[in-house]
């Protein structure tokens, strides 16, 4: 089973079209293995990207050096997945 300890989801907000294309370039940086949850659309809409633990620092440096604003939408994805799994299991126990 694939787990996601330390993966974070970053909510990135582009200031302009230039920054939007910088964010889109992340998709082509295969080594970062980022997963776009919410794709690049327009400047008004945030972009949500899941970043594996191993490339977190590189991605954040890439964004910060380009002065691209981001916030951490999900601190540790695995924690949320464990909560979701626990909710399902307890619902099943209640049903039984």
């Amino acid at each position: 089973k694939e787990t996601f300890e330390g993966h974070q989801v970053l909510r990135i907000v582009a200031k302009d079209e230039v920054q939007l294309s910088l964010i889109k370039d992340l998709e082509d940086m295969i080594e970062f293995e980022v997963d776009f949850w919410r794709g690049v659309t327009d400047v008004a809409s945030p972009v949500d990207v899941r970043v594996p633990f191993h490339s977190l620092q590189s991605v954040k440096i890439y964004l910060e050096t380009q002065d691209v604003e981001y916030s951490i939408m999900i601190e540790d994805l695995q924690v949320m997945l464990d909560e979701e799994q626990e909710a399902m299991e307890s619902a099943t126990r209640v049903a039984e």
Binding site: K1, E2, F4, V9, R11, I30, D35, F36, W37, R38, G39, V40, T41, S45, D48, R50, M73, I74, L77, M80, L81, E84, A87, M88, A91, V94, A95
Partner: protein, 309 residues
């Protein structure tokens, strides 16, 4: 659960639980609900479609599908709730009763069963189908880029490792080809509503070209009505418009193909996350999401019913 009244709609369920829910709903409502298997997934799972019909033969019909991207769990969960809602409201809600007295509704809840099973057992983040790609170690095709509408254009990837990999050719995925065959054999679908999450958007064709759809004005005003009804419940705000103008270029997408088949009322929904959960939307938001979405679905179904073509 022994019946669909005691089924827990406010939690996420496995594929087996959803499939047995479908069989229970059919068994409880033999005069309204039947199950059609339109094909098999790559790994051999049945592609179940619930048919809601009060009679007639090959009546004009409305298609709703959820879960084509497997990790978008709130959509399969909402689809389960929609199925029960149709049964509960027929004979009680005058608008739905009028629709079902003259039209059929087809509802495919688990449109990508292999991917959905995989999200429960191996990788919660899985989006695509699970067919191997010859010559690559990466699996799966994006089933929302595999349709024969602008297939091969930009707005999808040719890399099997990409989340938006279009596949080796249009309809290469049995999960897609089975729906294509169903649409081509039924030939009387009047609306096609494909439900994704997340980001609160209601989208209509086209995604592969900037050329406006010939019914753009009507599709746009109907979308506005639908999202206004949706927002009336909890204030969830949606954006709406054509795929290419509202989000990005997307080639080979479902509703572009269905629209090109003449199914005028072709829409893609992107349900909530209204907060910061993304695909991991807490289960306590399933029913509110389903209820608000139902208002938009009813707006589109009612318009389809009242504007025959």
């Amino acid at each position: 659960p022994r019946n669909t009244d005691s089924f827990d709609y406010s939690n996420y369920h496995t594929i087996n639980e959803i499939y047995s829910f479908q069989d229970m709903l059919v068994a409880e409502n033999p005069n309204l609900v039947s199950k059609i298997v339109i094909g098999q997934s790559y790994e051999g799972r049945p592609l179940n479609v619930l048919k809601f019909s009060t009679g007639g033969t090959n009546r004009p019909a409305i298609w709703i599908d959820t879960g084509i991207h497997s990790r978008e769990w709130v959509t399969q969960a909402s689809g389960t709730w929609f199925a029960k809602k149709i049964v509960l409201d027929y004979g009680h809600d005058p608008t739905l009763t009028a629709i079902l007295d003259k039209m059929d509704i087809f509802l495919q809840i688990v449109t990508n069963p292999d991917g959905f099973y995989y999200t429960h057992n191996s990788n919660r983040m899985w989006r695509k189908t699970r067919k191997p790609n010859p010559g690559s170690s990466c699996m799966g095709v994006d089933p929302n880029r595999n349709w024969d509408a602008g297939f091969g254009g930009s707005g999808a990837s040719g890399n099997p490792c990409s989340e938006t990999y279009r596949g080796p050719r249009a309809n290469s995925e049995s999960e897609v080809k089975s729906i294509v065959d169903f649409v081509n054999s039924h030939r009387n679908l009047k609306a096609f509503l494909s439900i994704h999450s997340y980001s609160q958007m209601l989208l209509y064709p086209y995604g592969y070209t900037t050329t406006p759809a010939k019914d753009q004005a009507e599709l746009h005003s109907l979308a506005k009505k639908a999202i206004t009804d949706l927002a009336s419940l909890y204030g969830t705000s949606y954006r709406y418009g054509s795929i290419i103008n509202t989000i990005y270029q997307a080639s080979g997408s479902t509703v572009d193909w269905t629209y090109n088949q003449g199914i005028k009322y072709s829409y893609t929904f992107e349900l909530r996350d209204t907060g910061r959960y993304g695909f991991i939307l807490p289960a306590n938001q399933i029913i509110p999401t389903a209820k608000e979405t139902w208002l938009a679905l009813m707006a589109i179904m009612d318009h389809t019913f009242k504007n025959p073509y």
